[in-house]
Amino acid sequence: MSVFRLLASRILFSALTLLLVSILIFLILEALPGDVATRILGRDATAKALEVLRSQLHLDQPALVRYFQWLGDFVRGDLGVSIATGRPIGDVLGPRIVNTLLLSLFAFAIYLVLALVPAIIQATNRGKAVDNILSVITLVLLSLPDFLLATMLLFLFAVAVPILPALATISEASTWLETLRAMVLPAVTLAIMMAVYAIRVLRDSLIEVLRSDYVRLAELKGLRPRAVLFRHALPNAIVPALNVTALNLGFLIGGVVIVERVFSYPGFGTLLIDALQLRDIPLIKATVMISAAVYVAANLVADVLAVLLQPRLRTSR
């Protein structure tokens, strides 16, 4: 029962957070100088035309009314019309989100391997040369800005040793294999950027778990080391890393902007940058709101998973 209440309150707080995000975004963009109607119609537009457009966009109404209108439309799934292209934002966003989702899933799969394998190697060889070398590599990668890492990988695998395409410009005409090949470099960049954060946490928590009594007991009752590691130690060591993974999802949304930009991948991130460059306010609002919603949802899922995976947390409240 208490689990239920805990989950309900978490969900409620997430909704409240998103409501505040919407107010924040609205307020920040309200400060944007310049008249939207003039921007759409150009400087030569007649006063009459400007007025008509303003009333069409509800710009003649007070900010409070416009906020609730926008919020109401947004919640009902009507994201409005992009100023730059004149197309409904839902139509513009849809394919971009699918592309980014594909890229993120690919990156996430690589991330799991890139985070788990070094952490396991380090924890089981603690203090040895392998551990130290991997620590140094992790630290160096942690210090590399994402745009630099992306550029380096691009240089290595598309210019110096041209085995992968430099531009990830996929379209509906591309075959599955082409799409996959195009996604390798951006996905690997994202995966490395996320993994370096998780490796350290995983390593430390795995070392802690490996020293615990139940792992010793499992060893003493004669289980094979592999069984001890994968059945007893790893599941318990993963819980602290869950939080990092949720944080990483937040990073992924930001990182996607840079990485997609470097490889010209037609995803959500490039759309956000385009919207910002064109001062396309409805599109900016929609993209930022969605990215915040993804972050909040990821944290919610991580919280719930942490509760479900760790009995101690279940009874704490």
Binding site: L20, I28, P145, V257, I258, L276, S291
Partner: protein
């Protein structure tokens, strides 16, 4: 002999040397890297081999040579001179932005953690909302909202870094304040009749210093990356100011013709962040804090 050992200057020096030897390895390496960067930045402020905006310093795209260790860009500007001149810009922006975030975040966080109640509740909800917006998106939206007159100005970048950092620092400061608020000396101060401000800044702040120092160092490590990313995306400092992220972005289409123009500044930026990270790692170990990862 006794004269020499009792010489105050000498004692101070020996004290420092002993202190230095006792610091953890990462701290030493980090401090040396950072000192080298600081020295480089100071020299670069006053002297560079060529002017940072001087076109025709040599043959464009002629690659690395002794005269031009980082090569020349498309319009014949010496990349090393630009890199050198940019060093103090990157350091100053990172430091000022982080400092602003620290002052705002610490003040808000400590008060919110100590006072509690509805003030804390409201602050936390706003902080939560600001953290939910991916920091790069938040920074970019704020830059757009500032409008064209402020675009590309250093003040705007400092302000944006500060605003992106403040909610994250608020969270850390609040947690520290809540823990410290339960200690006896705070209760004693309350009984003495000290005011809220006095308790927050005289009793809690000095005792939260370790946590905040590590947090400052951690945020400072990430600031050059954030500023570089803004420059890289074309929303940072206005050209021709040689901010490193902007330089990497400018020279990126020369990647095939002259890769050194990208990797020179890239190496500089990476080494700076490595220095900061090692320094933070060592500092947190020295102060008995666990380094907190994640942006």
């Amino acid at each position: 002999m006794t004269m020499i050992t009792s010489n105050p200057a000498r004692q101070l020096f020996r004290f420092n040397a002993g202190y230095w030897r006792a610091t953890p390895g990462p701290f030493k390496v980090g401090a040396i890297i950072l000192a080298a960067h600081a020295l480089f930045a100071v020299i670069g402020t006053f002297w560079t081999p060529y002017g940072f905006a001087e076109m025709g310093a040599g043959l464009p795209l002629s690659g690395a040579s002794w005269q031009h260790p980082m090569g020349l860009d498309q319009i014949g500007r010496d990349v090393f001179s630009r890199f050198m001149h940019g060093a103090h810009i990157v350091l100053l922006l990172a430091f000022a932005g982080t400092m602003l975030g620290m002052v705002a975040g610490t003040t808000l966080g400590l008060i919110s953690g100590y006072v509690g109640g509805w003030f804390d509740e409201i602050t936390q909800r706003i902080v939560e909302a600001m953290i939910s917006i991916p920091f790069l998106a938040l920074a970019l939206v704020m830059i757009i909202a500032a409008g064209p007159t402020l675009a590309g100005e250093p003040v705007l970048i400092v302000f944006v870094v500060g605003l992106v950092y403040a909610p994250r620092i608020t969270r850390i400061a609040r947690a520290a304040a809540m823990e410290i608020a339960t200690r006896e000396y705070v209760a004693v101060a309350e009984l003495r009749g000290e005011g809220t401000w006095s308790i927050v800044f005289r009793e809690i702040l000095p005792n939260a210093a370790n946590v905040l120092l590590v947090e400052f160092s951690l945020r400072l490590s990430y600031a050059p990356i954030l500023i570089g990313a803004l420059g890289f995306l074309g929303f940072g400092i206005r050209p021709p100011t040689p901010e490193w992220g902007l330089m990497i972005s400018e020279n990126r289409n020369l990647l095939i013709a002259s890769p050194v123009t990208v990797f020179g500044p890239g190496l500089g930026l990476a080494s700076l962040v490595i220095g900061f990270n090692l320094f933070t790692d060592g500092l947190s170990r020295m102060l008995g804090q666990r380094p907190v990862m994640g942006a």
